[in-house]
């Protein structure tokens, strides 16, 4: 493994259930040392991508490597990857201290002291059965357990989705502290873009089981502009740039474009775009807004 090895590298990665592709033709690279946000509507394949990277799922097509190794391929590979699954599953009847002991017995580089410190700072009682804790506390326990493994890559699947805003802030705070200690690459999936904006510097956007965007957030934002202009023919723009989304009213046209150079036509007024608007534009381009709304209300995937 060289120092240039990517944290996660996928080539043509796909997973099919019956006739439905949960993830298709996914090629991406996440460099080490970043906090990458994985966004997309429900059912876009976020959980599938993370599960493939942990080795919980086997791919139908393509490959994925984490730090240059096949997922879950032996104890060393497992030790380097931390994972907090959706709904942060834990053994409800066991106490927090039991979970820490469980982790100590199942991991060679276990750092139980820091986990205990972290949890006591959050006033989470170690002798309480995990089933009696609140969702926010349970998520903190799951994160502390995973950090105690001292992983090199941390994969978090919607860990904050079920938490109230304060618990969410605490959780992301704990995560940011762990990242600040260095040497950690994080992939965090969420459909809450505002949360990602707080901690992430890298973005992967999945929609319709495919990767729509992948890269450094600042660089991506620099490449995108909102163009506002009169209602007129847009073929010139479409030829020179990639139009993500177009909205037309009676008098004007608003477009989100990915630029391939300066916009020559002075009729168009270019403005910076925010992360949330950019993400929503890509999701909206993928499906009519009303349908996107419906999928968001539908079941978890």
């Amino acid at each position: 493994m060289s120092s240039t090895t990517a944290a996660i590298e996928a080539h043509g990665l796909g997973k099919r259930y019956g006739h439905r592709w949960a993830l298709a033709d996914c090629t991406l690279t996440i460099p080490t040392g970043h906090v990458a946000g994985l966004v997309g509507p429900n059912g876009a394949g976020k959980t599938t991508l993370i599960s493939l990277a942990t080795g919980m799922l086997a791919p139908t097509t393509g490959t994925v490597e984490v730090l240059g190794g096949a997922p879950a391929d032996g104890p060393d590979q497992l030790a380097r990857v931390g994972y907090v699954a959706q709904n942060t599953p834990t053994y409800a009847a066991l106490s927090v201290a039991d979970h820490l002991r469980l982790g100590a017995h199942m991991n060679p580089r276990w750092d139980g002291d820091s986990a205990r410190d972290r949890l006591s700072r959050l006033n989470i009682p170690l002798d309480a059965a995990v089933g009696t804790l609140s969702g926010g506390q349970r998520a903190q326990v799951a994160l502390a357990l995973t950090l105690a493994k001292r992983p090199k890559v941390l994969l978090l699947d919607e860990p904050v989705a079920a938490l109230d805003p304060l618990a969410r802030r605490h959780f992301l705070g704990t995560l940011a502290d762990a990242v600040a200690e260095g040497g950690l690459t994080v992939v965090l999936s969420s459909h809450l873009v505002a949360d990602l904006e707080r901690v992430c510097d890298h973005l992967i956007l999945l929609a319709s089981s495919r990767v729509q965007l992948c890269g450094d957030i600042d660089a991506l934002l620099a490449e995108h502009r909102v163009l506002v202009g009169p209602r007129k023919d847009t073929t010139a723009i479409e030829r020179d740039h990639t139009v993500v989304q177009t909205e037309r009213t009676a008098r004007q046209t608003t477009m989100l474009v990915r630029l391939n150079g300066p916009v020559a036509d002075p009729d168009w007024e270019a403005a910076d775009v925010g992360l949330e608007d950019m993400v929503l534009a890509y999701m909206g381009a993928d499906a009519a807004p009303a349908i996107a709304e419906l999928t968001a209300v539908g079941g978890q995937r």
């Binding site: 599960s51 879950a72 053994y91 066991l94 002991r101």
Partner: protein, 325 residues
């Protein structure tokens, strides 16, 4: 991993241990009483020479205790349904498999530890129950010589260990394949009962070719020890076999009428009727498994169930290795 398994199962293991201890104490007390009664009966019958019909004069055990020991037939099933089937299925249902399989322990090792300890627990608990029951049955076996017949055979010796290991493996495999512990529990129960019934009543008898003997109607089957009777009847004077009549010293049973020329009735001693039948050419026949085959049969049957368990565990490993969590 040992600690992990112990932490998950210590509460139920303690309950099982407590039940086992209570059962052992009960059988120890009543078993010692039975043994004392048996030895006293032997000593007194030796004095007046009536040891031939001890089975009629001595009563050992009790209906309740016999029922209780017979219920140990279900012990392997309990292991399979309540320890085996949730072993993997419960972790999948609650999602904790996502935790367990992403620690620095491969699935293969996790499953090895879990199945290894559970199978060992099944063998140890099943063996303990069987050991106590076998010891308790010693006086009754000596008196009734019935340990080779079904049900008595199934709760003594080493076969209960084979059943316990098989039930545990069946539970684990069903839980892994089905993924839902309640459904796996039901399937484990059904499949275990079906296989046990088929083996007991159709397969076991073929482990070794049965022996057929023809002997005088005035005698008992000339086979020593606790044989397993399969077919009994008479050879008619013409040479045909009939199972509609079985006779022996002191009894004539069956719908087939005894020959008219032989005296029979309330006032006639059975021995004279039998002597008359012997003169007419009637003989007894019996097909049976001789008593000295008890242990060979125990080993064969245990081997079959351990082999089935091994196949189920192999399937479990393949499924866990390949299947998505």
């Amino acid at each position: 991993m040992t600690w992990v398994i112990w932490r998950q199962y210590r509460a139920t293991a303690a309950i099982a241990g407590a039940i086992l201890a209570a059962f052992a104490v009960l059988l120890l007390i009543t078993g010692l009483q039975d043994a004392a009664r048996w030895h006293a009966a032997l000593a007194s019958c030796a004095k007046d020479g009536t040891c031939g019909n001890l089975a009629q004069t001595v009563s050992l055990g009790s209906g309740l205790l016999t029922a209780l020991t017979t219920l140990t037939l279900a012990v392997p099933l309990l292991f399979g349904m309540f320890w085996g089937s949730p072993a993997v299925a419960r972790e999948r249902e609650t999602g904790t498999v996502q935790f367990a399989w992403t620690q620095s322990v491969t699935r293969w090792r996790w499953l090895s530890a879990k199945t290894g300890w559970l199978l060992l627990a099944g063998a140890v608990f099943g063996g303990a129950v069987a050991g106590i029951v076998t010891w308790w049955y010693a006086p009754l076996n000596a008196l009734h010589q019935h340990q080779f017949t079904p049900v008595y055979f199934d709760i003594q010796g080493i076969v209960p260990i084979g059943y316990a290991v098989f039930a545990m493996a069946l539970g684990i495999a069903a839980g892994t394949l089905i993924g839902r512990s309640l459904a796996a529990l039901a399937v484990t129960g059904g499949v275990f009962l079906a296989i046990r019934l088929v083996v007991t009543y159709w397969v076991r008898v073929h482990y070794m070719p049965a022996v057929t003997t023809i002997y005088s109607v005035t005698q008992n089957l000339p086979s020593k020890g606790a044989y397993w009777p399969l077919v009994q009847g008479v050879v008619l004077p013409g040479g045909q076999l009939s199972t509609s009549l079985t006779v022996g010293p002191g009894y004539i049973m069956g719908p087939l009428p005894i020959p008219a020329s032989c005296p029979a009735g309330q006032d006639q001693p059975i021995s004279s009727t039998l002597a008359c039948m012997a003169r007419l050419g009637y003989r007894s026949f019996a097909t049976y498994q001789p008593g000295y085959r008890f242990w060979p049969f125990q080993f064969i049957e245990t081997g079959i169930f351990v082999a089935l368990a091994a196949a189920l565990i192999a399937v479990t490993f393949l499924v866990v290795r390949r299947r998505d969590a």
